[in-house]
């Protein structure tokens, strides 16, 4: 045929934007902007802070000194040469922090504030600030002072940008050893957790044991409590006054041992969910094939089971690793003198007010977290393709010896998990461990302790409710825009990237980044600092990714042709959204909100930098009461979080069932 084969010259036809298109893009821009302001900008602020160092630059100042009459002036002389002559300050002395001050009189050994001698000072460059009293001066003009004023003149440090902080960090053996420590406990905990969770998941999916439901329920309990709660239980059992202390044979629970045991506790459910999913998609027919080839069950295990679950195992390992290495609460409670990265950030920032060094440690902590995140995403993609190829689900057959073994395994793990919770409950109710073991509720009288009292609990409840509502609305709407807006490819890809990013950002890092960003007086969003709003924002952002993925999965299952149909009927998209999309996705929406709620109740790491006296939180109160030695009330507050989350979960299950029941009519085929 004679038709031309290439596109004629010209511009591609672009559809005019209708109101829907504008509104959709507007929404996406709004939520994109939210993520940008709540994530990208703070991280950028933190990153740039880590390269900033403060120090006094004496070459930038010049002095003139008069004689006794105050009229005859000597030659101008730079501060640097004065210092050289005196040998007063070494280079190390001149290093400073953001609010350092250097009294100029230190450079004049004969200075007396009663003398009639006058002084002149000028900066030789525009960027050489000094203080007269409290007034910041930034001028290169000479200023004259009598000696009484001159003693109130202080030089201010100037900033330099460079790798100085990093050099310092890596040459500090104490700080550097934290990297080793962090890696050590993370690797050990990961191996233990994944091993235990694999056995547990294997029992749930591949054996015929009784009480599977109960075991599963117990295994999920750690999700409902802050990660530091097992630390408190371990202190009760094995701490200085612990009644099982003897079992440790001289080892101390304060340190890596405690951190590892506690980490296994709080990461267990996360690993279990992933591995269990991987095992549940096994194909019965592969096992039948192996059986017909008369492979031993041991060989079948290694040639069929393990390869089939490998993505799940890898993914679980990375998730566990990230959880442990980024966790702050547990090492804080039970780490003793054992320093890890997350603790270092806290110490640098809260203890030493060295924000720049805190930023450096944060960047160091980001590296393994981002690395683990990237690997996990790769593996997840492969797992998905495995899932879509699934066929006949595996049906376990009874086998007495094997089932017995599996049952024992589950029993031990369940005993460990339930035991930790039970110890906390006991600690909360016992009057005075270990001397008076009678029961009372006095540990729940939080108002008599430091840490925020009952107000902290109500704050947490408020935070959780607001995070659940606002977070779910933002996340679901954002996911809808990514999934159902057509065109605008680049914008959507960017949005998707921002939505995935929070998963890779440890809570401590996010919290510190928020300090840098929101506490900057020049930031118009500064008013948020110290409010409940910033806690909600940080929590929503911190847990954004999982919610986003849940929403995307649900939205992908909705017919892509709904939007075209609605616009052909000339109906605005929000009618479709409200009447169809949201109702159809309601189960997923409920899942997101309970996830946000529970995590807002238990989170410590991001909010520990951001709460103020009137926005103290329950999870932080646990930490602070423990810090103050009020361990029993700390356990009691931890249990309050547990009751609340358990109740929320039950409510959620109830609501989900009701909604599914009510809408069954249209779900049933």
């Amino acid at each position: 045929m004679a038709e031309t084969s290439t596109l004629p010259a010209g511009r591609a036809v672009k559809l005019k934007l209708d109101r829907d298109g504008i509104v959709k893009r507007g929404f996406m821009a709004l939520i994109g902007l939210y993520l940008f302001a709540a994530l990208a900008l703070p991280l950028y602020a933190m990153l740039s802070k880590s390269f900033v160092t403060y120090g006094f630059d004496l070459t930038r100042y010049e002095f003139q000194v008069s004689d006794e009459s105050g009229t005859v002036w000597g030659d101008p002389v730079s501060a640097a040469s004065l210092n050289d002559a005196l040998g007063k300050f070494s280079d190390a002395d001149l290093a400073s922090s953001s609010d350092g001050r250097l009294a100029v009189t230190d450079l004049f050994p004969d200075f007396s504030f009663k003398s009639p001698v006058k002084y002149r000072l000028r900066s030789t460059t525009a960027d050489a600030p000094y203080l007269v009293g409290l007034d910041l001066q930034r001028t290169t003009d000479w200023q004259e002072f009598d000696s009484n004023t001159f003693r109130r003149v202080n030089l201010r440090p100037v900033t330099t940008v460079g790798l100085q902080n990093y050099v310092e960090y890596f040459s500090n053996p104490a700080l550097f050893s934290s990297i080793e420590n962090s890696l050590f406990i993370s690797v050990i905990s990961t191996v233990l957790t994944v091993g235990l969770a694999f056995g547990f998941a294997y029992a749930l999916n591949r054996s015929c044991i009784a009480f599977k439901g109960t075991f599963r329920l117990i295994a999920m309990m750690p999700i409902l409590v802050p990660s530091l709660l097992p630390g408190i239980a371990l202190i009760y059992l094995f701490g200085n006054q612990g009644f099982l202390k003897g079992l440790l044979m001289g080892q101390s629970i304060y340190g890596p041992l405690g951190i590892v045991i506690g980490s296994v506790f709080f990461t267990f459910p996360h690993a279990l969910i992933i591995i269990s999913t991987a095992l549940s998609i096994a194909d019965q027919r592969q096992y039948e094939a192996a059986e017909s080839l008369r492979a031993s069950s041991w060989r079948t295990f290694w040639t069929v089971t393990i390869p089939g679950a490998r993505y799940g195992l890898i993914s679980a390992a990375f998730v566990t690793f990230t959880l442990v290495i980024t966790d702050f609460g547990l090492p804080k409670v039970i780490g003793g003198q054992y320093n890890v990265l997350a603790i270092d950030i806290y110490k640098q920032v809260i203890g030493q007010q060295n924000f720049e060094m805190g930023a450096v440690v944060s960047v160091v902590l980001l590296i393994p977290a981002v690395f683990a995140f990237i690997i996990d995403r790769q593996v997840q993609k492969k797992q998905v393709s495995l899932l879509s190829a699934r066929s006949v689900p595996y049906q376990p057959k009874p086998n007495r010896r094997f089932d017995m073994l599996m049952f024992l395994w589950c029993l031990i793990v369940a005993f460990f998990i339930a035991g930790i919770i039970a110890v906390c409950q006991m600690a909360a109710l016992v009057k005075f461990w270990p001397y008076d073991l009678s029961l009372s509720l006095k540990n729940y009288a939080f108002n008599r302790m430091d840490g925020g009292g009952w107000a902290a609990y109500w704050n947490s409840l408020q935070l959780a409710a607001m995070t659940a509502v606002a977070g779910t609305a933002i996340i679901f709407t954002g996911a809808y825009m990514v999934e159902k807006v057509d065109g605008f490819r680049a914008g959507r890809a960017l949005f998707q990237f921002f939505a995935m990013l929070p998963m890779a950002i440890p809570g401590m890092v996010l919290g510190l980044a928020y300090i840098f960003f929101f506490n900057d007086p020049a930031n118009p969003l500064n008013f948020l600092y110290g409010t409940m709003a910033i806690l909600v924002i940080s929590t929503v952002t911190h847990f954004y990714t999982v919610g986003h993925l849940t929403a995307l999965t649900a939205l992908k299952q909705i017919d892509a042709e709904f939007e075209p149909v609605a616009s052909s009927l000339r109906q605005p998209f929000w009618r479709l959204f409200a009447r169809v999309t949201v109702p159809v996705c309601l189960p997923a929406i409920l899942d997101i909100s309970i996830y946000m709620f529970v995590n807002a109740m238990t989170t410590v790491s991001a909010v520990v930098f951001l709460y103020s006296t009137h926005t103290a939180l329950a999870s932080v109160a646990v930490l602070n009461m423990d810090d103050a030695g009020d361990i029993a009330p700390a356990a009691a507050m931890g249990m309050m979080i547990f009751y609340t989350n358990a109740a929320a979960r039950i409510l959620h299950a109830f609501a989900s069932r009701r909604i599914l029941g009510r809408t069954q009519a249209w779900r049933a085929r």
């Binding site: 045929m1 038709e3 031309t4 084969s5 290439t6 596109l7 004629p8 010209g10 591609a12 036809v13 672009k14 559809l15 005019k16 934007l17 209708d18 109101r19 829907d20 298109g21 057509d486 017919d559 042709e561 709904f562 075209p564 149909v565 609605a566 616009s567 052909s568 009927l569 000339r570 109906q571 605005p572 009618r575 009447r579 169809v580 109702p583 159809v584 809408t663 009519a665 249209w666 779900r667 049933a668 085929r669």
Partner: protein, 373 residues
């Protein structure tokens, strides 16, 4: 060819096409899915886009719907340039293969979806929904949910929803291909009937030639992003413009041959053909449909006549209304022929495997297409 000049005035007299697609191209990155599509569709017409899967039918339909715009070219509907209008500002109803019914709304709510929010009173909407339900033959099903209906019923609801707003144009993308064969044939008639009753201009995308032949006023045959031919079902069937059309619609015997002075030469046989405009000595593909091969009574073997061939029956299959018969002919060489003979003819002429007979390939039914085009 069409005159490129068209009156811009919205005065739409009967001769003006209702939908006018002019030089439309669509590219997905490097891949060109539509090439230079020019097509007019008149008011009230039922047009089918027919072609193999992946030829660009849906792409063209989506451009018309404003869901995924053409890269180049213009589209006018009812005298209005809609090339760059978003879907919501165009005037059409659409039905997809998946039905795309809203699962959580009852059938009534589904149909009413486009009527609500327009300031119409509730009672009027209710009456309209009832009328539409009756129109698609499901008057009792309004309170059910889509999942409680059969596939065919769901498709009718989707149709009712699409026509509820009285669109100027009805777009159907493979509306029947998710249904089983029986329902499909039944629904063909219903849709066609409905369209005739409403007089709505309709475009249906399908890859099923039977569907297109039985429903369309005109068929647009597409292949690899180009229009091969536009015509009524009989035109398309009897006078395919290209070998692709001849081959894609119905069945045809294809034989490589050489064109020579109004006839094609195959082996020793010379068959007169109605085909025109071919170069003498040019390589062509000769095409003749199985049902156009006529069996002749005994006695023709000895008297060679134009377009008569002496053949031998190699095998026969009974296909209900006719016999599919495989033939070979010495003069054609190796190339076998397939002919469809009626039961009557087979009985009357005693045609059976191994039998020799003479067949006629009428000159006006012998088609030829230049090769390598």
């Amino acid at each position: 060819m069409m005159n490129a000049l068209t009156a811009d005035a919205p005065r739409a007299d009967a001769a003006d096409p209702y939908l006018k697609i002019d030089s439309c191209w669509k590219a997905f990155g490097e891949f060109v899915a539509l090439r230079d599509i020019t097509l007019d569709i008149h008011k009230g017409e039922f047009v089918c886009f027919l072609g193999p899967s992946g030829c660009g039918k849906t792409t063209l339909l989506r451009a018309i719907a404003g869901l995924d715009p053409q890269t180049r070219g213009t589209i006018r509907q009812g005298g209005r340039d809609i090339s760059a209008l978003p879907a919501s500002q165009r005037d059409y109803g659409i039905v997809f293969q998946s039905y795309a019914l809203f699962p959580n709304l009852t059938v009534e709510r589904n149909i009413a979806f486009g009527l609500e929010n327009t300031g119409r009173p509730k009672a009027e909407i209710g009456a309209r929904v009832a009328e539409l339900l009756a129109l698609v033959g499901l008057p009792e099903q309004g309170r059910k949910y889509p999942a409680q209906l059969s596939g065919g019923q769901q498709q009718r609801i989707a149709l009712a929803r699409a026509i509820a707003i009285n669109p100027g144009l009805l777009l159907l993308d493979e509306p029947l291909s998710a249904l089983d064969a029986k329902v499909r044939v039944h629904l063909r008639h219903e849709i066609k009937e409905l369209q005739r009753k409403l007089g709505v201009t309709t475009i249906m995308v399908t890859h099923d030639q039977e569907e297109a032949l039985s429903m369309a006023d005109r068929i647009v045959v597409m292949n690899h992003g180009v229009i091969e031919q536009v015509g009524t079902p009989t035109e398309i069937y009897r006078d395919p413009a290209t070998l692709f059309v001849a081959d894609f619609i119905g069945e045809t015997n294809k034989i490589e041959s050489v064109f020579d002075k109004g006839a094609v030469r195959v082996g020793q046989a010379v068959l007169a053909t109605g085909a025109k405009g071919l170069a003498d000595g040019g390589a062509v593909t000769m095409a003749v449909r199985p049902e156009d091969i006529l069996p002749l009574a005994a006695g023709h073997e000895a008297r060679p006549a134009p377009n008569h061939l002496n053949v031998t029956v190699t095998s026969m299959e009974f296909l209900g209304s006719y016999w599919r018969t495989h033939l070979t002919s010495d003069s054609l060489g190796e190339t076998p022929l397939v002919a469809n003979f009626s039961m009557n003819a087979v009985r009357r002429l005693g045609i059976e495997p191994g039998a020799a007979l003479t067949v006629e390939l009428p000159a006006e039914r012998v088609l030829a297409f230049a090769r390598g085009a």
